[in-house]
Amino acid sequence: MDNKITIGIADMKLAKGNGMLVTYALGSCIGICLYDPLIKLGALVHVMLPLNMETGRKNPMKYADTGIRETLKKMESMGAVRSRITAKIAGGAKMFETSSESMGNIGQRNIESVHLNLKREGIRLLKEDVGGKVARTLLFDVASGLGCVRSYGRPELII
């Protein structure tokens, strides 16, 4: 695969024109692809938690709210136009079926927060593959705007 760009946890990277943005093994985390099709500018952010409550906010990309906001800001500074930007997301699984309720379902809370924050920022959500119990690797092809989700024991899915 050419021009593969890997995004770690709590990380974000952009590519323009072409390139394959990849983030591996999303469990309860969510990978959010933001894309301006006209100028072919794509970003992939790997968020881990729904809300940024850190003092100082040193890690904006770790959280759905600040991660989406900062990524959009960055894209706009590179020429993207808000009304053209669309989103595709994957992740938000529950890896372990646990008996104790106190842990909550971080995956589900992440999905809800991503939905809410995309809506708040006026971004259309085109496609998603979220929830369930499987880990996902998300690939996003910046040239075509297509996403691909790879999971264990499940056929590849194009989003």
Binding site: I9, Y24, S28, M95, F96, T98, A135
Partner: protein, 209 residues
């Protein structure tokens, strides 16, 4: 002085945690040895404090499929303990008890899964039992949960649970040696920061003196 993040631990505290790891892993090895009917020894245990992405590289890459047994710790000590069972370890257990080996995780059936869950549960319970005796802490364990999936996502469970507090994950543990072969034990204890402070205080090293 209370620590706020794992990376603030001083060398005495790290040594103490390594000792906890040694005793915990040693007890787990004894339990495994009884179960398998074979001698199981351990290597020098390590305490590692790693940033998320570093931890995933350390365990062998995000997409590698593994079996994971997860138990949550409650009571005077809160945390998550994981037994990450890579193929070498799975085959060590399956071979000795069921006299079979697998090439891929997809070959695991109900019986094999139950055996792996129970093995993980025994390792974790003996580790925590030793920790509990040593520090005089009352620790309760939840019923073990099990999955077979990408290890990056399995490791991300304790990270997400304590992600609001820290950018680091702490792991304690060594490797098992059985039949002259070294098998990674990958018992990962991730305490929340408050519980880590409780543990250090109980062991008399909270002020780093």
């Amino acid at each position: 002085m209370e620590i706020k993040n794992y990376d603030e631990l001083n060398s005495l505290q790290l040594d103490t945690l390594r000792e906890v790891g040694s005793i915990g892993t040693g007890n787990a090895a004894t339990a495994l040895s009884t179960m398998l009917g074979r001698e199981v020894r351990i290597t020098m245990p390590e305490v590692r404090i790693m940033e998320y992405n570093e931890a995933i590289e350390w365990i062998g890459g995000p997409e590698e499929i593994t079996a994971g047994v997860l138990v949550k710790l409650r009571g005077q000590f809160n945390g998550i303990m994981l037994s990450v069972q890579q193929l070498d370890f799975v085959n060590l257990v399956l071979d000795h008890i069921l006299e079979r080996k697998i090439m891929e995780y997809s070959e695991l059936m109900e019986l094999e899964n139950s055996l792996l869950i129970e093995t993980g549960n025994i390792l974790i319970s003996t580790f925590i039992g030793a920790l509990s005796d040593l520090a005089g802490l009352d620790i309760r364990l939840t019923v073990p949960a099990f999955t077979v999936d990408m290890q990056g996502a399995i490791l991300a469970v304790p990270m997400a649970e304590y992600g609001g507090q820290s950018n680091y994950i702490m792991t304690i543990g060594g490797n098992f040696i059985c039949n002259e072969k070294e098998v990674p034990c990958r018992l990962l204890l991730s305490p929340d920061v408050r519980s880590l402070n409780v543990l250090l205080r109980k062991l008399g090293v909270s002020d780093g003196q």
